[in-house]
Amino acid sequence: MSQQHAIILMIDIQAAINAGTLTENTYLIDNMKSHGSVGNGTANLITAVNGAYWFDGSQAGEAVLNWLPYGIGALPPTLPRTFRVPKSTVANAEKINSLAEKLKTISETKESVSDKKPGDQKTNAVANIAEQLKRIMEGASGTCKIQDMRGKVKDVGLKVMDMTGKEVNSDNISEASYIMPIITSITGEAVDKGVMFPAQYGSPDLVTDGWYWSASVDTNKTGTFAYTMHIQIYALSANKTWVPKDMTYTSHINVTHAPKRNGFTGGAMQALPIS
């Protein structure tokens, strides 16, 4: 096997959520274009899986497929997974600083109006400050919550932020960066017919949350086979909770194979060409 196959799914999350389907909102790319994969960069990729067999018919090479889902509008996968932590801390620190300054202003205002003018002016000054405080608190987006498939909501403890890591609040919530889509299962014709054997593997690489789907292929079964990926994407609800939505997407593999032959002779093994 000269290399493992990598298949990337680029999912336009916003569009998929709005349309309720991944159809026409997904683009596939693999690393086998030079080996015969058709449809790279489109919705209809047919991944070429070229196998080989020995003279006795037994399989001569492994073909391994790996899938990586990426979301358009999600934070880039090249960022470290802990990216949000310092960004959240900074956002909180800024809020605390604003509040501290406002408190300082309050105590100064209290002193300056307490004995000078009765009634209206004092009330107005305090009301003014109260209004400013309210605006600061509203600006705070609060922390991000995620709902699981059973409806249970968990607070992640981090801010909702945009693609640059800046905190996003109620007025610009549409700029929030999405959570990366996840593949939850791979099924379909290729799996049922025993052509592809998928499994989820744990990985120390946290780029894909420490999990990825991989499959080995029985290249003795030649032909074009469909397989379906079950993908979970998250939509941000009005109360800043990420709600999961399950969708599926179908792609194909085209398995071919050819016999191995000797590189020196083009046929059977012979004496090495050392003269």
Binding site: G263, M269, L272, S275
Partner: protein
């Protein structure tokens, strides 16, 4: 006595393509029963005897980078020894070739017979590179 010797080549494909050279990005090892010299380097001298089968296998350090043996040519040979199916393929990288052969009886003992191994890493310019430092040595 073992009749089969494997020469395994490990290639750091990313480094080789970035630096445009296999120098210091390639490691050869074999399991010859006669203790070859230069294990783990590009100057491996595989000790062997006539009648033994030698097989070359190549692995990429990063499983998702491509590498196949394009050609192995013994140096000092006449030009028509550049035989062999220039790779089972026009289709680059189909690893349908098995690079093995029997050590011939007419090898002069003790002399190092160098060979040039060409590797194909993906497609495009500078994707094919070779090393000419490994050798076979009849003991």
């Amino acid at each position: 006595m073992s009749t089969h010797i494997n020469i395994i080549t490990a290639v750091d494909v990313v480094a080789a393509l970035s630096e445009r050279t296999l120098y210091e990005n390639i490691y050869l090892m074999d399991n010859s029963p006669f203790h070859s010299k230069g294990q783990g380097t590009a100057s491996l001298a595989t000790s062997c005897q006539p009648g033994q089968v030698i097989q070359w296998i190549v692995y990429a350090l990063d499983l998702q980078t491509p590498v196949v043996i394009k050609k192995i040519v013994f140096l000092g040979a006449s030009s028509d020894a550049e035989n062999g199916a220039q790779s089972a393929s026009e289709c680059m990288g189909s690893d349908l070739d098995v690079w093995n052969g029997v050590v011939p009886v007419n090898m002069i003992p003790g002399a190092l017979r160098h060979y040039r191994m060409e590797l194909q890493m993906g497609v495009g310019q500078n994707s094919a590179m070779s090393v000419a430092t490994p050798s076979l040595k009849r003991v």
